[in-house]
Symmetry: C2
Subunit: 253 residues, 2 copies
């Protein structure tokens, strides 16, 4: 099954559009692994997928500790996304994607800024071969996002447009499985959603700790909410995840 369909099935089955971002920090790798596993055990009923990034890959090792986490996500039938923000030359991008797919991830996140030829083309090729997903960055959640993602760029035909609009157009052209737009910028979600309609789903990080609000994010057109610190650092992560899931479901109605 293709990644986009896998995500839809999981969201429907779990009745949730929340993706747990396991972006943890801990003093020891042992604690880091134990906390990640514990979070998965308590939070898994309320989420439809899990996202990992370098917070876990670097200290735990992709083919070492991370495998124990992926074993859990498989047991819970949760699709996994590797938030590696691929942005190297094609030869290296291919190696990165192969490693993450071979390790068990269902999708990778990549930066369209790197372009197609000898850039992301090999990533999309391997994704298609292995029936995995590629999600593209479109507008990130942090303050300086305007510097790159928000800048005005010129197209070949001398037309001017915001960078994130150019990226959304590339997502359509390259047949991406999703785009990332920060929940801290609901007006950008709305604009991107107008371009993509429901052809390419919007993944939105940044609700809670970073300042994004569930209602405006979902109403603007975000399909999946990627949530890390708001669940992870909550006094009761299980309760926080459940509340987030319920809030999204209420707004969707």
């Amino acid at each position: 099954m293709a990644f986009k369909a896998k995500m839809e099935r999981s969201a429907k089955k779990k009745g949730s559009n929340i993706i747990l971002a396991l972006d943890l920090e801990a003093r020891s790798t042992r604690t880091l692994l134990l906390q990640s596993i514990k979070l998965l055990e308590t939070v898994h009923p309320y989420v439809c997928a899990v996202k990992l990034n370098h917070h876990l890959i670097l200290p735990l090792g992709l083919f070492d500790g991370v495998q124990k986490i992926l074993k859990k996500t498989i047991a819970y039938e949760l699709p996994t996304i590797m938030d590696c923000k691929i942005n190297d030359i094609g030869n290296t991008n291919r190696v990165i994607a192969e490693n993450y797919y071979n390790a068990g991830f269902d999708a990778v996140i990549a930066n369209p800024f790197v372009g197609w030829e000898e850039g992301l083309e090999p990533v999309f090729e391997i994704a298609q071969q292995k029936k995995r997903g590629v999600i593209l960055l479109c507008y990130m959640s942090h303050k300086a996002s305007w510097e790159g993602y928000g800048q005005i760029v010129k197209k070949d035909d001398k037309k001017q447009l915001p960078q994130y609009v150019a990226f959304a157009q590339k997502a359509l052209e390259w047949n991406a499985d999703g785009v990332v737009v920060g929940a801290t910028y609901p007006e950008k979600i709305k604009e991107v959603h107008k371009i993509l309609n429901d052809k390419v789903p919007i993944y939105s990080p940044g609700v809670g700790t970073q300042g994004g609000v569930v209602q405006s994010t979902v109403e603007a057109g975000a399909r999946y909410l990627i949530v890390g610190r708001t669940i992870i650092n909550a006094p009761n992560p299980e309760k926080a995840a459940k509340q987030l899931r319920d809030t999204v479901n209420r707004v969707k109605q």
Copy 2:
């Protein structure tokens, strides 16, 4: 000693401006590690630094196999650069930089596209605390580099300029330890060198296999040549490294 000075000292001491890029591929992690170590053992007299990227980090593990490689580079007194092309939000960028610096790397490569506030600011902060380096991408060596690095962008004052010029200006403003400009685009090296003069050295990947030519790259203003496949895949890597070193030194005179 600061990273920029460390690189200058190493280049002078070794009489070489070649940086070995250990971007290897192998069927097993055991072979990958053995080949990397063997390359270092034969090539180290002809290079002034070593660059690693995800080719080794993902299969070998940063705190596992990669440590054996870093033990060798320390023994050979070769500064090490982690080509991780950091481009996440600040909180994650900080964790990435901390991991690589704590693992023993002297510098990281980052993408200025992510911007400053809640972007690369924490990376530069930690680099300064730990006296390590940050090298910024300016124009990459692959074919699609024009899509992002070569696009025309508008500044606040409505002035238009190429993206790589904007990145070179950020490198000065942020006091970066170096910029990356592909050897496949010597005219871009020349332009960037005019902006940076000798304040920020240019690191240039892409000679040989990717099509860049040593003479035009060095004459355009590149200080360090990052070389991977041209050495790695040579019938005699030692000879290839020595020849490259000598060619650069001849052109420099």
